[in-house]
C-alpha cells in the first residue's frame, strides 16, 4: 500500500513517529513550536508532545546546535531545525569542530547522536543567502553524515534512520521539493543511510545525482531515450557515507559517467566522484567523466532559471560524452 504525500508532510510524519517511539527524541529550533517551523516541518509536534520536547529558541544558531551536542552527549536524541542551510555557517564551529569530532576526540567516551535538519537549494527566488547548496562543505568534514533525500518516501525513511543513527547526521532538505508529492509506504519503514538508489536502469551512461537534481536527470532520461540513449540514474541519497559500490558497479556496466548536482560545479561532490572513479577505474572509462553543476556564482535573485542546472544541461552533457 502506498499513499501520495508531500515531501514536507513526510518529514513531519517521520518526526511524529520518532517522537512517539522514543521519549528521548526532542525537537529544537527557531519557531519550531507554535508556528510549526518556517516551512511546516514541525507542525503539530508541540500539541502532540508538549513544550518539554518541542523547544522554541532564540535566534542563536551556535547555542542551539551546541545545546543539541551537549544533550546528545548525555543520551538525548535532539533534532535541530536550522531554518535555512545558508545559516549553517553561523554555527560552523559547533558543527565542524565540536559535533563532527566528538566521538573521535574523546575516544568514544562521548558520542553525538543528533540530527540537524536544514533546507537548502534554490527555486524560490530567495536570493544569494537563502538558496545555496552547500553539501560539499560538510562532506569534506570527517565525522558528519550528510544526506539529501530527493523524494517524500526517502525523506521520511531517511529522517527516521538519521534520528536512530548513533552519530551526527546533517539532513539537507530541498525547499523547492517541500510541496512535491510522491508515494510513501504505509506504516513503519526505514531507508538506510549510505545507500544509493538506482532510479532508472540503463546501459549507456551512468548519471550520479541527488536531491532536486534527480528529477531533472529523470526528465533528461526521457528525452535521451527518445534519441536512443539509455542512461542509468543513481540517486545518491547520502553524500557521506558515499555508496561507492553502487557507482562503481554502474560504471562497470556503462563505462561512462556524469555527475549532476545543483551546487556550484567547482569543487563540488561531482569533482570528488569524478576523481574517485578516475583513480580507480580509468581502464573501464570510455570517455572523460562529465560534470553538470551551477556556474561559479552566488545564487542570483531574479535569474535563478538561468543559473540553475536543468534537464537540458544533462542532455547536452550526455550527448557530449556519447560523442567522445
Amino acid at each position: 500500500m502506498v499513499k501520495e504525500t508531500r515531501y514536507i508532510k513526510a518529514i513531519n510524519e517521520a518526526l511524529h513517529e520518532e517522537m512517539a517511539r522514543d521519549e528521548n527524541v526532542l525537537v529544537i529550533g527557531e519557531d519550531v513550536g507554535g508556528p510549526g517551523g518556517a516551512f511546516g516541518g514541525t507542525r503539530g509536534l508541540l500539541q502532540a508532545f508538549g513544550e518539554r520536547r518541542v523547544r522554541d529558541t532564540p535566534i542563536s544558531e551556535s547555542a542551539i546546535v551546541g545545546l543539541a551536542l551537549g544533550a546528545a552527549m548525555k543520551g538525548l536524541r535532539p533534532v535541530v531545525e536550522v531554518m535555512f542551510a545558508d545559516f549553517l555557517p553561523v554555527c560552523m564551529d559547533q558543527i565542524v569542530n565540536q559535533i563532527a569530532k566528538t566521538r573521535f576526540m574523546f575516544g568514544g567516551q562521548f558520542t553525538a547522536p543528533l540530527v540537524i535538519r536544514a533546507p537548502g537549494g534554490a527555486g524560490l527566488n530567495a536570493g544569494p543567502q537563502h538558496s545555496q547548496s552547500i553539501e560539499a562543505w560538510f562532506a569534506h568534514v570527517p565525522g558528519l553524515k550528510v544526506v539529501m533525500p530527493a523524494t517524500p518516501a526517502d525523506a521520511k525513511g531517511m529522517l527516521k534512520s538519521a534520528i536512530r543513527d548513533p552519530d551526527p547526521v546533517l539532513f539537507l532538505e530541498h525547499k523547492a521539493l517541500y510541496a512535491s508529492a510522491g508515494p510513501i509506504p504505509d506504516g513503519e519503514y526505514l531507508v538506510p543511510l549510505g545507500k544509493a538508489d538506482i532510479r532508472r536502469i540503463g546501459k549507456d551512461v551512468t548519471v550520479v545525482t541527488a536531491s532536486r537534481m534527480v528529477q531533472h536527470v529523470l526528465d533528461a532520461a526521457e528525452t535521451l531515450a527518445a534519441q536512443g540513449t539509455d542512461i542509468e540514474v543513481i540517486d545518491l541519497r547520502s553524500v557521506t557515507p558515499l555508496d561507492k559500490e553502487a557507482i562503481f558497479k554502474s560504471v562497470e556496466k556503462t563505462s561512462r559517467l556524469i555527475v549532476a548536482h545543483e551546487a556550484v560545479k567547482a569543487f563540488g561532490i561531482g569533482a570528488e566522484i569524478a576523481a574517485m572513479v578516475t583513480e580507480e577505474m580509468i581502464d573501464v572509462l570510455d570517455a572523460p567523466v562529465g560534470r553538470v553543476g551551477a556556474p561559479f556564482s552566488p545564487v542570483p535573485f531574479s535569474q535563478e532559471k538561468q543559473y540553475l542546472p536543468n534537464a537540458s544541461d544533462v542532455v547536452h552533457a550526455v550527448e557530449k560524452i556519447m560523442a567522445y
Binding site: L26, R52, T57, P58, S60, S62, A63, I64, V65, G66, L67, A68, L69, G70, A71, A72, M73, K74, G75, L76, P78, D93, Q94, N97, Q98, R103, F104, M105, F106, G107, G108, Q109, F110, P142, G143, L144, K145, P166, D167, T240, P241
Partner: protein, 326 residues
C-alpha cells in the same frame, strides 16, 4: 573530590582536601612542564599554574554525577573533578591507552566516568555544549549540575552571550565560571574590553553575577556552593567571575615579552596555594610533617602516572581510524 556540607571552619578535613587538590594540580603541571621541556610530550600544552584555586573551589562543590566542560587550559579542572591520573597522563603523552586513544592530547582530554565533558581547543566553544548538558539534566530531572570554565577572552565570543541568554531563559542548572586572568592569549583585558568586571554582563541576561578573588579557594568554594545549590533547586544559572593569575603565559614556553615585567612579578607574588598553606599552618590544621607527607604522596602518585604513560604503547598503526565512522 568532594567536600561535605558544613565544613566551613579552618579546623576541618575539608580544608585539607582543598589544599591537597590544589597542590596536586600544581605538582602535576610542574611535572608536565618538565617532561614537555624534555621533549617527551608531542605538540604543546597550556598550564594553569597560579589559577588552581578556581578549579578546586568549584569542583569541590560538585558530585560525580555533575559535569564540567573546560578549556585549552583545563588540566586543573579535569583533575579536580576527579579524573584518574593515569589515563589523563597517557593521553597527554599520546599513547594508545590514553583516555581518548591518543586522538586528543592535552587540549581535548575528557573523562565520561569523572563527568568531564572535555577540554576544548576553540575559545568559548564549550559554553553551548555545557548548555546542552545542563538542559539534559533538567529534561531528565536527574538533579545534575553542569559547570563550564572559560577565560576572560571567551567572554567576547558570541557563544558566551547566546549561552548566557538561553541558560537564564530556561533556568538551566549551569555555572558559568569565568577565570579572569587578565590575558586573552597575548592581549590584556584593558585593551580589548571597556569594563573591568565580566560579572556585570550577567545582569544583561537576567542571572546573578558575582566576583570573587580567584586566588582564595574558600571564596571560590563559597560562591560556587551557593550557585550549585540554586542550580540544583531549579533556580537557574550563575556567572562567577574569578579574578586570577596566569604565571606561565599562554602556552608552556611562552616568553611573555608582551607582558610588563612588574605586572608578571605582581602576579607571581599572588600564590593561591602558599597563602592557603599559611592559613592551614596558622590554624594548626597542618604542620610541616603533614605537608611533607602530602607532597611525598603526590610525588609517588605522579611518578607512577608518568611511569605508566611512558611505558604505555604508542597507538597501534593507524589506530585513529577506529574512531572514524563517516
Amino acid at each position: 573530590m568532594r567536600v561535605a556540607e558544613g565544613n566551613r571552619t579552618p579546623n576541618d578535613d575539608g580544608y585539607l582536601e582543598l589544599f591537597r587538590s590544589m597542590l596536586r594540580v600544581r605538582r602535576v603541571e610542574e611535572r608536565l612542564l618538565e617532561v614537555f621541556a624534555a621533549g617527551k610530550i608531542p605538540g604543546f600544552i597550556h598550564v594553569s599554574i597560579g589559577q588552581e584555586a578556581v578549579a578546586t573551589g568549584v569542583c569541590s562543590c560538585l558530585t560525580p554525577k555533575d559535569t564540567i566542560f573546560t578549556t585549552h587550559r583545563g588540566h586543573g579542572h579535569t583533575l579536580a573533578k576527579g579524573m584518574e591520573l593515569k589515563p589523563f597522563m597517557a593521553e597527554i603523552f599520546g599513547r594508545g591507552d590514553g583516555a581518548c586513544h591518543g586522538n586528543s592530547g592535552s587540549m581535548h582530554v575528557a573523562s565520561s566516568e569523572a563527568g568531564v565533558g572535555g577540554a576544548n581547543g576553540i575559545v568559548g566553544a564549550g559554553m553551548p555544549i555545557a548548555l546542552g548538558s545542563a538542559f539534559a539534566s533538567a529534561f531528565k530531572g536527574d538533579d545534575g549540575v553542569t559547570a563550564v570554565f572559560f577565560g576572560d577572552g571567551a567572554s567576547n565570543q558570541g557563544t558566551f552571550h547566546e549561552s548566557m541568554n538561553l541558560a537564564a531563559l530556561w533556568n538551566l542548572p549551569l555555572l558559568f565560571v569565568c577565570e579572569n586572568n587578565g590575558w586573552a592569549q597575548f592581549t590584556s583585558q584593558k585593551s580589548y574590553m571597556k569594563i573591568d568586571s565580566i560579572a556585570r554582563r550577567a545582569d544583561g541576561y537576567g542571572m546573578p553575577g558575582v566576583v570573587v578573588d580567584g586566588g582564595d579557594v574558600v571564596q571560590v568554594r563559597n560562591a560556587a556552593r551557593i550557585a550549585v545549590a540554586q542550580a540544583r533547586a531549579g533556580e537557574g544559572p550563575t556567572l562567577i567571575e574569578c579574578k586570577t593569575h596566569r604565571w606561565f603565559g599562554h602556552y608552556a614556553g611562552d616568553p611573555q615579552k608582551y607582558r610588563p615585567s612588574d605586572d608578571l612579578d605582581r602576579s607571581r607574588n599572588i600564590d593561591c596555594i602558599a597563602s592557603f598553606e599559611k592559613v592551614l599552618m596558622e590554624s594548626g590544621l597542618v604542620d610541616q610533617a603533614r605537608l611533607d607527607a602530602i607532597n611525598e604522596g603526590l610525588r609517588l602518585e605522579i611518578d607512577e602516572a608518568i611511569g605508566h604513560a611512558e611505558a604505555s604503547p604508542m597507538a597501534a598503526d593507524r589506530q585513529f581510524l577506529n574512531d572514524v565512522y563517516a
